[in-house]
C-alpha cells in the first residue's frame, strides 16, 4: 500500500564461487521483486564471507545462493559456517542450481533450509518464502 510504512523481507541473492551462469539467479531476483521482496543482488564471484557480510549490513532475513559449478558441497556449508561465526544463524539460507538430489539431503542437514532444482516454478519459491515469513510482505 503506497504511503504506509512497510517492512518487506530483505533477501540477499548471490552467486558464490567462480561460476558465472547468472540466468537463473536473475530470473529468481525478478520474481522475488514482483512478489514484493527487497532483493539485494550482490552479483558474481562472491565468497561466503562477502555474502554474509552483505546480509548483515543490509539486515537481510534470507540468503539465496545459485551454484552451477559442482562446488555446492563446499560453498553452501561455508556460508552456513560463516553465519555461525558472525552469530547470525537466524538468517535463512536457500539455493538453487546444478545440485543432485542426493546432495540436497546432506545440505539440509548442514543447515540449508531448502534447495530448488532446475525446473522449479518460480511461484513455488515465492510460496515457500511467504510461508516462512507470513507477517511480512
Amino acid at each position: 500500500m503506497p504511503g504506509t510504512a512497510v517492512k518487506p523481507v530483505r533477501i540477499v541473492v548471490a552467486k558464490v564461487g567462480l561460476d558465472g551462469h547468472d540466468r537463473g539467479v536473475k530470473v529468481v531476483a525478478r520474481a522475488l521483486r514482483d512478489a514484493g521482496y527487497e532483493v539485494i543482488y550482490t552479483g558474481l564471484r562472491q565468497t561466503p564471507e562477502m555474502v554474509v557480510d552483505a546480509a548483515l549490513q543490509e539486515d537481510a532475513q534470507v540468503i539465496g545462493l545459485s551454484i552451477h559449478s559442482g562446488a555446492h558441497m563446499t560453498l553452501f556449508p561455508a556460508v552456513v559456517d560463516e553465519l555461525q561465526r558472525r552469530k547470525a544463524t537466524d538468517i535463512v539460507v536457500f539455493g538453487g542450481g546444478i545440485i543432485p538430489d542426493d546432495d540436497i539431503a546432506a545440505l539440509k542437514k548442514r543447515g540449508v533450509a531448502e534447495i530448488f532444482t532446475p525446473g522449479t516454478p518460480l511461484q513455488e519459491i515465492v510460496d515457500w518464502l511467504r510461508k516462512r515469513f507470513p507477517d511480512r510482505s
Binding site: 567462480l18 558465472g20 547468472d22 530470473v27 525478478r30 552479483g43 559449478s69 559442482g70 543432485p100 516454478p121
Partner: protein
C-alpha cells in the same frame, strides 16, 4: 447452375478458419517469439536469385559438396577431474569413433587460477579438467599425437596461455606449430555479455585476442584462432535472433580490432570460426544457421572488402542446447538432443557436440557420453540427413524464416551501431538487458503454461527414477593442489621468474604477448602466475549487473 470456383489458397484459408482450433493455450510462435503462419506458400517465399551451396552468399552451405564430400566432425566436449582421467576418456572416445578432441576445463582453470588458490576451494575438477601448468597439459595429451588430430579448447580469458601450452606439448612431441589444427574459443566479448568468465577489462582483453590471432596467422596458420560464440548468449536466455545478431556483431568487433592492429582482412578472416546453439524449436534453428552464413558473407565481402572466398565463408561448430535438458525424466533428453542435432545437421554445421542425458545433474557418465556420440552416428548413417545438401532449401517456410532471421539481425546491428559499437553496448548493459528480459519472458510463458517442457510443467511423473550420475572424487582437489606445488618446487625457479618478469614488462608495452607467454609456459610457470602477472598490469573488471 455454375459453381463459383474458389482460388485454391482462398479455399484453404476458408477451410482452415472454419475448421477446428486447438484450445490448449499453447503458443504457436517460435520459442523466440517469432509469429508463425499456419502455412507458407510460394507467396511467402521471396523471389530471389537461385542460391547454391558453395556460392556466395552461401545460404545453402559453404561447400559445394556438403556432407557428401565430408561429414561434420563429431566433436564431443569433454573433460573432468585430472589430466590422467581425461586422457583416458579421450582415448576411449577416439577409439569409439570420435573424430576430434574438445577440451573442457574446470572453473579455476577457466578463471586463470591454480588449483591451490584459496578461491579454487571446492571447485577443482568439477566441470572440466584441472590444468595448472605445462606438466598437466603433457599428461592430458600423453599418447595422443597432436599432429594427427584436431583439438578444440574451450577457454576464454586465459586462452592465450592454454594455446601456448598446447604448442609447447606439440614441440615436445616433435610436431611443428605450423602443423597444428584446432580451435581456441578465445571469445572474450561474449564473456562480458553472457558467460561472465572475464578477468581483465575489455581493452586489454581484446588486445590479447588480437595478439593470438596475429601470432597464429604467422606461426600456427591452420589454427582457428577464435570461436565466436552464440551458444552462451543463447543459454543465458536470449532469443535465436539475438543469438545470431549478437554473435555476428561480436565477430565484426573482432574484425575491426584486427584491422586496427594493421592486419589485412584476408590474412586472418578465414580462421575466424563460430559456435552456435542448437535449441529445441527445430525450424527456427535451421533458419538461423542459414541466415548466419548469408549475413556474414555479405558483410565480409561488401563492408570489409575481403577479396578471398575463404574469408567470406562462415564455419561453425554447434552444441545442442544444454538449457533445454531437464532433470525430470532425463531419458527424454536423448530425444531432445537428437532433434536438436538434426537441426544442426540440416543447418550445415561443420562440427557438432551432442549433450548427454544426465548433464543437467552432473558431468556425463561413460554410458551417457557414448549414447550422445552414437546419436550423431545414427544421424549420419541411418537417417539419410547427410545425403542431400541443404535439404530444406526451397521450402517456402524455411526461406521465409531465414529472411526473417536476417531482418531481425540487421535491426539489431543498427541498434548496436547507434550505441556506438559492441563494447559501448556492453558497458551500457544493452545485451545483458535484452537477454535478461528474454529469459524472464520465457520463464513467465512456462509458468503460464503457454509453453510446455515435457516432464517439468506438464506430463510429469510422481516418482522420478534415480539415475546414476558422475561424482568427482573430493580428494582430487588436494591431490591436484599438491601436484602444482610440486611443479613449482621442481622447476628452474629463476627461469620461471625471469619469464614472468619479461611478460609483465611486455604487457605494459605494445608487443604481441604470445611469445612471452610461450616462454613462461615452457618454464613451467603456472597458469595462475601468468594470469597474475598480467592482472598486475591490466587490472580486473567488475561488471555492473543488469538484472
Amino acid at each position: 447452375m455454375k459453381v463459383r470456383a474458389r482460388n485454391p489458397k482462398q479455399a484453404w484459408l476458408e477451410d482452415f478458419e472454419s475448421g477446428p482450433v486447438r484450445d490448449d493455450g499453447i503458443e504457436t510462435s517460435t520459442i523466440s517469439g517469432i509469429p508463425l503462419q499456419p502455412l507458407y506458400t510460394k507467396d511467402d517465399a521471396p523471389r530471389r536469385e537461385e542460391e547454391l551451396p558453395g556460392q556466395f552468399p552461401y545460404t545453402r552451405g559453404i561447400h559445394p559438396s556438403g556432407y557428401r564430400g565430408r561429414l561434420w566432425t563429431m566433436r564431443q566436449f569433454s573433460g573432468f577431474a585430472t589430466a590422467e582421467e581425461t586422457n583416458r576418456r579421450y582415448k576411449y572416445l577416439l577409439a569409439n569413433g570420435q573424430t576430434g578432441l574438445s577440451v573442457a576445463f574446470d572453473m579455476p582453470t577457466l578463471m586463470g587460477q591454480d588449483s591451490d588458490a584459496p578461491t579454487s576451494r571446492g571447485e577443482v575438477g568439477h566441470c572440466g579438467v584441472a590444468i595448472d601448468s605445462l606438466a598437466d597439459m603433457e599428461t592430458l595429451f600423453e599418447g595422443i599425437p597432436l599432429g594427427d588430430i584436431t583439438t578444440s579448447m574451450t577457454i576464454n580469458s586465459p586462452a592465450a596461455i592454454l594455446l601456448c601450452m598446447y604448442i609447447a606439448v606439440a614441440e615436445k612431441q616433435g610436431v611443428a606449430a605450423a602443423k597444428l589444427g584446432g580451435t581456441l574459443q578465445n571469445d572474450i566479448l561474449k564473456e562480458f555479455i553472457a558467460q561472465k568468465e572475464f578477468i581483465f577489462p575489455p581493452a586489454p582483453s581484446m588486445r590479447l585476442v588480437v595478439d593470438s590471432i596475429e601470432y597464429c596467422a604467422k606461426e600456427v596458420p591452420k589454427w582457428n584462432t577464435i570461436s565466436i560464440s552464440g551458444y552462451h548468449i543463447r543459454e543465458a536466455g536470449s532469443t535465436a535472433a539475438q543469438e545470431l545478431a549478437f554473435t555476428l556483431a561480436d565477430g565484426m568487433a573482432y574484425v575491426d580490432a584486427c584491422l586496427e592492429r594493421g592486419m589485412h582482412i584476408d590474412d586472418f578472416a578465414s580462421r575466424l570460426s563460430f559456435f552456435f546453439d542448437a535449441h529445441i524449436d527445430f525450424f527456427e534453428e535451421i533458419a538461423k544457421f542459414r541466415a548466419a552464413r548469408r549475413i556474414w558473407a555479405r558483410w565480409m565481402r561488401e563492408r570489409y572488402g575481403a577479396q578471398q572466398e575463404r574469408s567470406w565463408k562462415l564455419r561453425f561448430h554447434t552444441q545442442t542446447a544444454g538449457v533445454s535438458l531437464t532433470a525430470q525424466q532425463p531419458e527424454l533428453n536423448i530425444a531432445r538432443t537428437a532433434i536438436e542435432a538434426l537441426a544442426a545437421v540440416l543447418g550445415g554445421t561443420q562440427s557438432l557436440h551432442t549433450n548427454a542425458m544426465d548433464e543437467v545433474l552432473a558431468l556425463p557418465t561413460d554410458r551417457a557420453a557414448r549414447i550422445a556420440l552414437r546419436t550423431q552416428q545414427l544421424l549420419a548413417y541411418e537417417t539419410g540427413a547427410a545425403n542431400t545438401i541443404d535439404p530444406l532449401g526451397g521450402s517456402y517456410f524455411m526461406e521465409a524464416l531465414t529472411d526473417e532471421m536476417e531482418r531481425q539481425a540487421e535491426a539489431y546491428f543498427k541498434r548496436i551501431d547507434e550505441i556506438g559499437g559492441v563494447i559501448p553496448a556492453i558497458e551500457a548493459g544493452f545485451f545483458q538487458r535484452e537477454i535478461a528480459d528474454a529469459a524472464f519472458r520465457y520463464q513467465k510463458e512456462l509458468e503460464d503454461k503457454r509453453r510446455i517442457v515435457v516432464g517439468v510443467n506438464d506430463f510429469t511423473v510422481d516418482e522420478e527414477e534415480p539415475i546414476e550420475i558422475l561424482r568427482i572424487d573430493p580428494r582430487l582437489e588436494s591431490q591436484q593442489s599438491e601436484r602444482v606445488r610440486e611443479v613449482r618446487r621442481k622447476r628452474d625457479g629463476a627461469r620461471a621468474t625471469n619469464a614472468l618478469n619479461q611478460l609483465r614488462k611486455a604487457a605494459a608495452g605494445n608487443d604481441n604477448l604470445m611469445p612471452y607467454i610461450l616462454d613462461a609456459v615452457r618454464a613451467y610457470a603456472t597458469e595462475g602466475e601468468i594470469m597474475q602477472a598480467m592482472i598486475e598490469v591490466f587490472g580486473t573488471y567488475t561488471e555492473k549487473a543488469v538484472v
